[in-house]
């Protein structure tokens, strides 16, 4: 890495740190910096410690991890599909996860305690992914991105029908829980979820970063990549699977959060070009900071009501992105 790229990444690291500090500082209950520091040192009242250490800190960190995972996943899909509209849920991940989550809510599946819902959502996402991959493979024997895209769309539509079917049998409380889940929320953040998400992000992020050069070539075109020595079929499978697992993990712990995975990678491309060695880590950092700040707004703008995080990401993301697009055009 050149000094310049290091410096540019440094800026994003600073932005993320500031976002995290703001995230822990602001919330429904106003707490001063001093109170927060004391809570971290194990002093202060029980309530203050619980608010800072059990509610805010894990929530902010989970937002950062999910934002990073979604941005990485979106960046990878956009290269693999060579399609700027590709986003983390493109292979039916969110719809599959929603089927799992809604089934768990409606059937009152609680065997795994606090992990019941995330586990059901994750299984649903994997189920949808398996269906999509199977459909795409059956038709050609190889992974064709057009077939894959179509398979993702139809499996997603099928899963959405399933969600609506199950919801029509749900009682009021289940309905409310399921709909809130689908709107996306970081309210369920715990240190365990932060831990699991951190592991997934490390593994998935490393796997994608190791493929940065391959992704550069695949983004140009598969024949070119093959001519330059890339084992195209294997690289694509690894890429699709890694991106899907990142998205599935994020959707399992935080519900469906749209927009981050679509727009953050484009923003980075517009600002810094599309070499994946820089694009991937930058997108992860920006995605993390973006989701942390979006969640701060979600928690505080209409307090005591938490706004659905997906609404906030779209409401602030779209204008920002349009601005970037216009600037990108004129320069």
């Amino acid at each position: 890495m050149t000094t310049r790229t290091l410096a540019r990444s440094g800026i994003l690291v600073v932005v993320l740190c500031i976002a995290i500090v703001i995230g822990i500082r602001l919330g429904a209950v106003p707490l001063g910096v001093r109170t927060i520091m004391e809570a971290f040192l194990g002093r202060g009242t029980d309530a203050e410690r619980a608010i800072v250490l059990e509610l805010r800190a894990p929530r902010v960190l989970l937002a950062a991890l999910c934002g990073a995972a979604l941005a990485l996943s979106g960046a990878a899909y956009q290269a693999l599909f060579r399609n700027p509209l590709a986003e983390p849920y493109i292979l039916g991940i969110s719809s599959g996860a929603a089927v799992g989550a809604v089934l768990a809510v409606v059937l009152r599946f609680t065997a795994l305690g606090p992990w019941s819902l995330p586990a059901a959502a994750f299984l649903g996402a994997l189920g949808a992914l398996a269906l999509v991959l199977r459909a795409a493979l059956v038709s050609q024997g190889l992974l064709d991105r057009h077939v894959l895209l179509l398979a993702g769309v139809v499996v997603g539509a099928f899963c959405n029908a399933g969600v609506l079917l199950f919801l029509s049998f749900a009682d009021a409380e289940s309905f409310r829980s399921a709909v809130y889940w689908m709107m996306g929320s970081l309210g369920g953040a715990t240190w365990e979820r932060v831990g699991v998400m951190a592991v997934v992000l490390c593994v998935g992020g490393t796997a994608l970063l190791a493929q940065a050069r391959t992704l550069d070539l695949l983004a140009i075109g598969e024949p070119t990549a093959a001519a330059l020595g890339v084992h195209v079929e294997r690289a694509k499978r690894l890429g699709f699977l890694t991106a899907a697992l990142l998205a599935a993990a994020a959707v399992s712990v935080a519900g469906v959060i749209g927009f981050v995975g679509l727009v953050v990678p484009h923003a980075i491309r517009l600002m810094r070009g599309s070499m994946h060695r820089e694009l991937l880590p930058s997108a992860a950092l920006l995605g993390a900071a973006f989701l942390v700040l979006a969640d701060v707004l979600a928690r505080t703008v209409a307090a005591p009501v938490d706004l659905p995080i997906g609404v906030v990401t779209a409401l602030i993301g779209v204008p920002l992105f349009v601005m970037l697009l216009r600037r990108g055009r004129t320069t």
Binding site: I51, G113, D171, A172
Partner: protein, 294 residues
């Protein structure tokens, strides 16, 4: 052309006169401010509101109830036709019961049910209950609709004296409580809701006695900060949660009340319904609080 217009007018007038009902003898006003005219005291009633169903039972009008919702679980009316949910009833099944009065919830956001039933010649009585005063008024209105105003007055007096007895039996310090209407995201009952009022009667101090709204979404941070002595969790119709589930959730697990098992379970079908059993609901809240006092 003139013939055509004359035909249309004749048809329109014909429709009008054909639908004219028998002269009404009972004039009521429902909670949406609409006049409700009945030719005679209602004999075939469909109740889309569980609290109104309770009231009908308390008014000894079980034999007039021809339709109920799936949420009415009183064994004595298990045989009465279930027309689905109160907010999304099966309208065909409802009309098929040939009711002369349908009691609906004024909170029905769709609002077109009354119009649709009106075209079928069926009267609707919309009820809106936020506090105990609304509940008493609904009981008097329903009593009038079945032509038994006197019994309505007796019922309301009985509930008032039940509540006075519960209030008189409160002793000692009032525990600070959080009442769970919904668990995730947390929603609670404000002080002016019937639940807030029953909590007060039962000897509890609502930790959200300062909220304006009757059904208020509150943040977990605020609940943790206000640290209730007791968490009240209704079970039944809407099982908001279980103790094990709460103990595993962020925020809830930080509450001393949850950690130390000071969670009072009350029958949600009883406490969440502002009907004729409000006296029993206040008693149940009082007993549950006494059983889990810190």
């Amino acid at each position: 052309m003139e013939f055509f217009v004359a035909l249309m007018v004749a048809l329109l007038v014909g429709c009008r006169s054909g639908a004219s009902p028998a002269p009404a003898t009972l004039h009521l006003t429902d909670d949406m401010g609409r006049p409700v005219a009945l030719a005679a005291p209602a004999r075939r009633i469909v109740s889309l509101l569980p609290s109104a169903t309770e009231t009908l039972l308390a008014l000894d009008a079980r034999d007039r109830l021809v339709g109920r919702t799936r949420y009415d679980r009183d064994p004595s009316i298990a045989a009465v036709t279930d027309i689905g949910g109160g907010l999304d009833p099966n309208v065909e099944a409802l009309v098929g019961l040939r009711p002369d009065l349908v009691i609906t919830s004024a909170g029905d956001a769709r609002g077109d049910l009354a119009d649709r039933l009106a075209t079928a010649g069926i009267a609707t009585l919309a009820i809106r209950i936020e506090d105990t005063t609304d509940a008493y008024r609904s009981m008097l209105t329903i009593a009038r609709a079945i032509g038994d105003s006197a019994r309505g007055v007796v019922l309301v007096d009985a509930i008032r004296s039940d509540l006075r007895r519960v209030a008189a039996s409160v002793t000692g310090r009032r525990p600070r409580v959080f009442y769970v209407v919904f668990n995730d995201p947390p929603m609670t009952a404000g002080p002016n809701s019937f639940i807030g009022q029953l909590l007060d009667v039962a000897g509890a101090e609502n930790i959200f006695a300062d909220v304006d709204r009757n059904w208020a979404t509150v943040t977990m941070e605020e609940i943790v900060k206000r640290a209730p002595d007791i968490v009240i969790l209704p079970t039944g119709e809407l099982p908001a949660s279980s103790l094990a589930k709460l103990r595993a959730q962020p925020g809830w697990s930080s509450l001393a009340a949850v950690r130390e098992g000071r969670v009072a379970f009350v029958d949600g079908d009883l406490v969440n319904r502002p009907g004729a059993r409000m006296g029993a609901a206040a008693r149940a809240l009082h007993d549950a609080l006494a059983a889990s006092a810190p």
